[in-house]
């Protein structure tokens, strides 16, 4: 298995979508991967039952930053119901390349931050046992 860094991944890495902060986010969450130090923070604006705006900032590898950038595209403008359902498979599908076990934590860092945000906003139950 070889992780090949496709052009679109490098593109998201070098030119991340929805990068930055929101003025009045519903929720702001930061997290890091304790094993490598990669960081992601995310702002969500929830209006009614939709996520109307999302921004992220981060430092880290191409995988973690591109995956988060892609994730924000999936979140933007979607219903809370849809966003809550976003999971690992969606990330892996978006990345579209094989991810080695050690890099899974990178791929899912943004997702972890997203779900922490949803929990904090009271839109999702904390799922203690889910290892993101």
């Amino acid at each position: 298995m070889s992780m090949d860094y496709r052009e679109y991944i490098l593109d998201h890495y070098r030119d991340p979508r929805n990068y930055g902060r929101l003025e009045n986010p519903t929720v702001h969450v930061e997290d890091s991967n304790p094993l490598c130090g990669d960081q992601v923070s995310m702002d969500l604006l929830v209006e009614g039952d939709h996520v109307t705006a999302v921004r992220f900032q981060g430092r880290g590898c191409a995988i973690s930053q591109a995956a988060t950038s892609m994730l924000t595209e999936m979140v933007q403008g979607k219903s809370v119901e849809e966003v809550v359902r976003l999971g690992k498979d969606d990330i892996l599908e978006a990345l579209g390349i094989p991810i080695s076990p050690a890099r899974m934590k990178c791929a899912f860092l943004g997702l972890r931050v997203l779900h922490k945000s949803l929990v904090l906003a009271g839109l999702e139950r904390p799922e203690h046992d889910d290892e993101l």
Binding site: L35, G37, P101, R103
Partner: protein, 419 residues
């Protein structure tokens, strides 16, 4: 509790099992080794030795932070071992399994981390007089530093806990109750499940020292409902250098870290840090990776035998030993008479022969290895009015013929000492 597939296997004969243990074919002083000291440390099957061997020969690297193949393999091996141990004791989640060096460190981890955060001056800690030093000294140190009180459940003449006194001590609402599931001297098996329920009703947190039980009895931590359970790899066919602390999730989550350093942190700045998730919060520094792999192989081996078989085998060997030892003049056995109340450990004394002298004679003239001394349980010795006992202990590889050699040796000792 074990893999269903494994339990239903054809039971193997003890002779066959013995072939898995290279050391059992060695000689000492020109006689075949008769190893009757498994309660101190068990021997290791080839499967355990080879698992570690293979790990070092093909997959060693530091874990968790490596992005390359062999580091991923090593991390996988470590975490797979954790899952195996979790299943072996029926823990809900593998993150409840913290790897330590041995039972002793597991207990100290709780005493330092949970103890410092929760035990205040005047608080009561309830122990028993049959505890191993490892489940006594950490609480003495905590009591001295915090000003907590220690009280002890005494024993009946037969070597059972005085459960009425236990009930009365619980009325004083102890913060912590800590006791062994099986005495390493008397063999006594304590009614842990009932004792845990009573302690919980009284509002106490319960630590169970499973150093002697995890290797020898089916152990289901959810059924026992204990808050902390501690045991050692080296007593259950596994390598030295690894032990286990099982804890309830909420307690472990709430506890401050014990050792600080690499791997147990989330982020570090010069003056403060935040902590990693369980179980790594409690595993500072490079872990005992090969040892975890070996322990994983050991619980696989035990599960394949089936812990019910292990218990059954030891019951019959113990029954045979009790019967045969009673034929030796001037031999006195300590501990419960009822077989179902004791594990595969028999302590005894013989005439006025000191246990050390007995052990030397058995070793040098018969190749028999027994333990002699206070067995790290001086308060229990005090209770028995002794300085030391002789102790024979059994495991999956013990044969009735080995008991016969022991008995022969004891008779010879009587001759030598001209009793």
């Amino acid at each position: 509790m074990q893999d269903v597939v494994e339990v239903h296997r054809e039971p193997r004969s003890v002779e066959e099992i013995r072939r898995d243990f290279p050391i059992l074919s060695r000689q000492v002083h020109g006689k075949p080794l008769v190893y009757l000291d498994s309660a101190a440390s068990s021997q290791k099957p080839l499967a355990v030795i080879e698992a570690m061997n293979a790990y070092y020969r093909s997959s060693h690297a530091n874990v968790h932070r490596g992005v390359y193949e062999i580091s991923e393999e090593a991390t996988e091996a470590l975490e797979r071992a954790r899952t195996k141990v979790a299943r072996f004791i029926n823990a809900r989640q593998s993150k409840q399994i913290i790897f330590t060096r041995n039972t002793t460190e597991s207990i100290n981890l709780v005493a330092y981390s949970w103890g410092w955060a929760n035990i205040k001056a005047g608080d009561l800690i309830v122990l028993t007089t049959m505890e191993h030093h490892s489940n006594l000294v950490p609480w003495q140190l905590l009591a001295q530093r915090s000003g907590a009180r220690l009280e002890f459940v005494p024993l009946t003449p037969e070597g059972l806990l005085q459960l009425d006194v236990y009930a009365r001590l619980l009325e004083q609402e102890p913060k912590l109750v800590a006791f062994t599931q099986m005495s390493n001297v008397l063999g006594t098996i304590n009614p842990v499940k009932e004792m845990v329920a009573q302690a919980h009703a009284a509002g106490a947190v319960v630590l169970v020292d499973a150093a002697q039980s995890a290797p020898h009895l089916p152990l289901d931590v959810q059924e026992l409902d204990a808050d902390f359970v501690c045991f050692s790899g080296h007593k259950m066919l596994g390598p030295t250098g690894i032990g286990v602390l099982y804890g309830k999730r909420e307690l472990l989550e709430a506890m401050p870290p014990f050792l600080g350093g690499g791997d147990m942190i989330r982020s570090v700045s010069l003056r403060s840090s935040t902590w990693n998730d369980l179980p790594w919060k409690f595993e500072a520094g490079t872990p005992a990776i090969a040892e975890a792999v070996g322990l994983g192989a050991a619980v696989d081996y035990l599960s394949a035998l089936g812990m019910d078989w292990v218990r059954q085998h030891e019951r019959s060997i113990t029954a045979y030993a009790l019967e045969r030892l009673q034929t030796v003049p001037q031999l006195r056995i300590y501990g419960p008479v009822a077989e179902e109340q004791r594990g595969g450990v028999v302590s005894f004394s013989l005439a006025d022969i000191h246990p050390h002298d007995l052990a030397s004679i058995l070793d040098q003239e018969f190749g028999v290895a027994i333990r002699a001394g206070h067995h790290c349980a001086q308060p229990l010795m005090e209770h028995l009015g002794l300085v030391a006992t002789a102790r024979a202990s059994f495991y999956v590889y013990t044969l009735p013929e080995e008991i016969d050699v022991l008995v022969q040796g004891l008779r010879r000792a009587l001759e030598i000492f001209q009793v």
